[in-house]
Symmetry: C2
Subunit: 393 residues, 2 copies
């Protein structure tokens, strides 16, 4: 049998993190590799109540086919949350997604012909790279510093890539770096997008998980021409298992997203949508998010302390005020893959930084997750990581 | 603002049926347009028990991120169901999908470069056309008769389209015609696929809903070279709201499906998967399917009777032994769009047949659904349809 796959099949492999997660199931390994929320914080009892209420009140509708756009009361609840962060909108400009990952896939599908350019932070979210690659684009990477994507570099990239389809950015507690784009740059990004007539895809899964510093308005809040497409999710503030994300965009974009979502999976799980809406009706999600933030803050403090005390002093690292990740840079003398192998022998794991570069992989950094583990395990894992690193001394 | 969408955005509009469903929400309209299961048969109480059991026993895991492949006990339960219909397999060759619609999308994504050929029945499932069109293929339609896709026509089409990527077929109670491919043709289809070295995508959402005649083994049961990809769903036998489908295929295909599903939505709703698995553990799904079959059989009988008694005698129509649809052909003198408009005024609706042709739309047929409505409403709706048609006499 000869099988001729589409050319795009050459570009899409499995995600390094998700494949690593499978290997790391062994209980003796302390894994900082995933990007998982703390499961002990999931509001299991409240969700159980919401499930029963949904099935009692509207069982037949909750289990039937439904509209692609999504359950209206859930969209209305999201409208309120969008307004609270400075993005006034309405339910017509919201579409429920099967996780925000689907928003990445649909954005690629809607905008990218083979050879088109995507502009993104360097490094950037590996599953976004994977989603976009299915549509065979070129990637133009823009350097970051501690204040987010560099705007001088962005302008140079826009000049060098006329007709680029969109700028992909994760402004808050970026994955993988944990860095946040400062206020002034958010305004500048919109101004540059207006000037160079390009769409912005703002991916904001972590914005609500800010445990220090001052909240910044989304890039979309500065949008004057309806060119910012905003993507977020319930995965980090409620529960990722339900696969519920959303996209907020202007009508012409929205029409495309709805059509292509219809072709992709008809609609997202109706029952999950109704359970989420019922949960939001019966509970205070913001109070729940406060609990998440307190726990993640404490874990971040421990991990930062361990970086200072267990790892060699010369390592540069980010200092996130929210989200789930810290980015650690290595001296040129240490290859991150070799370090990863050494760490695995030491029963500790991370994601090596090379996975986060769409073009040439850099071997000089790794991502640590602190949300998914007790403080004791963080301490023990960081000790093991420090031991592995000390062998390079 | 200038927006340059991908070229594929020109090809994908919203599905006619799904858009019609929204219009047809008015209670005075009797709609035979949808393809919805009977919601009064959804096992709401059993699902409520399953939800509680899942949350009590494994709440944290049910709400967390999980593997792309899907929940293993659910895949194992599907293995048993596949074996029961003549397709021995194992969990490694099963992938849980976000509805079988996702399987259509992923198949397009994996196999189709722009300009590649998809071979399909004429007419065929409109949402499959929509899913494939996103990848800009050509469609080669193969004529059907009452015994399914015609094999002489298929061979001619294979000769005329060397390098066609796959044959898309719905062998059981086809959507939209309700026709079933006879046993001999299933074997012939595999033999032709082997001879012409082409993949078969067997879409089988309705096979389990057979209420008359003898069950036929899936096309995949005759697969000698691992070239048949089998797609099915829980939507018609359990509940569509959960968006749970599956694909069964050989390892090389499976690797691609897993990679591309990862890029599309990471994984399907874990909670829904665990609830389905728990339902299957605690209940007898086959007994439940018996109930569905009894109800649909009665509704089909009523609708067939009404076709004979309320509609003009010269109309050709299919006589399905299962599934959800009957296909009615019109004389050349009646344009189906005009009839549709006349019917809407009469508060009755169907899907006009033209939606089911990927190339040139034929205006000479329509699809009737009988699963979603009481016998009384079927009678009343068919009376209204007969009145609309009688104006052409």
């Amino acid at each position: 049998m000869t099988v001729n796959y589409a050319k795009r099949a050459e570009h899409v492999g499995r995600s390094a993190t998700r494949e690593i997660l499978k290997v790391l199931d062994r209980p003796e390994i302390i894994s900082f590799a995933g990007g998982l929320p703390a499961p002990e914080l999931f509001p299991v009892e409240a969700i159980k109540e919401a499930c029963s209420a949904v099935l009692d009140e509207a069982g037949e509708q909750a289990l039937q086919y439904s509209t692609t756009e999504g359950f209206l009361p859930l969209r209305k609840a999201i409208v309120k949350r969008m307004e609270a962060v400075g993005v006034p909108t309405d339910a017509d400009h919201l579409l429920i997604l099967t996780g925000s990952q689907q928003g990445l896939d649909l954005t690629g599908k809607i905008f990218l012909d083979k050879g088109d350019t995507v502009i993104c932070e360097s490094p950037t979210y590996l599953a976004a790279i994977q989603a976009f690659k299915a549509y065979e684009p070129r990637f133009a990477e823009v350097a970051m510093d501690d204040f987010g994507m560099r705007m001088d570099e962005l302008e140079r990239t826009l000049q060098q890539n006329p007709g680029a389809k969109f700028i992909y950015t994760i402004p808050d507690f970026q994955n993988p770096t944990g860095r946040t784009m400062v206020l002034e740059r958010r305004k500048q990004m919109v101004a540059l997008a207006n000037q160079y007539d390009v769409v912005i895809l703002e991916d904001n899964p972590y914005g609500a998980i800010r445990f220090a510093g001052e909240a910044l308005p989304p890039v979309k809040s500065f949008d004057t021409e309806g060119r910012v497409i905003y993507l977020s999710t319930f995965s980090k503030i409620f529960a990722p298992g339900f696969r519920l994300g959303w996209i907020c965009a202007e009508s012409d974009f929205m029409n495309r997203y709805v059509s292509f979502k219809q072709a992709s999976d008809l609609h997202s799980d109706v029952f999950a949508q109704r359970v989420a809406a019922k949960y939001l009706e019966l509970n205070d999600l913001d109070a729940h998010i406060q609990k998440i933030k307190a726990v993640y803050h404490a874990r971040r403090e421990i991990m930062m302390h361990c970086i200072e005390t267990c790892l060699p002093g010369h390592l540069k690292h980010s200092a996130p005020e929210g989200g789930l990740f810290i980015w650690v840079e290595l001296p040129e003398s240490i290859n991150v893959q070799a370090l990863f192998d050494r760490c695995l022998k030491n029963n500790v794991a991370f994601v090596s930084g090379d996975s986060f570069y769409p073009n040439e992989a850099k071997q000089n950094a790794f991502r640590l997750n602190y949300s998914n583990m007790s403080e004791e395990r963080i301490k023990e894992g960081m000790k093991r990581l420090g031991e592995a690193l000390s062998e390079y001394a």
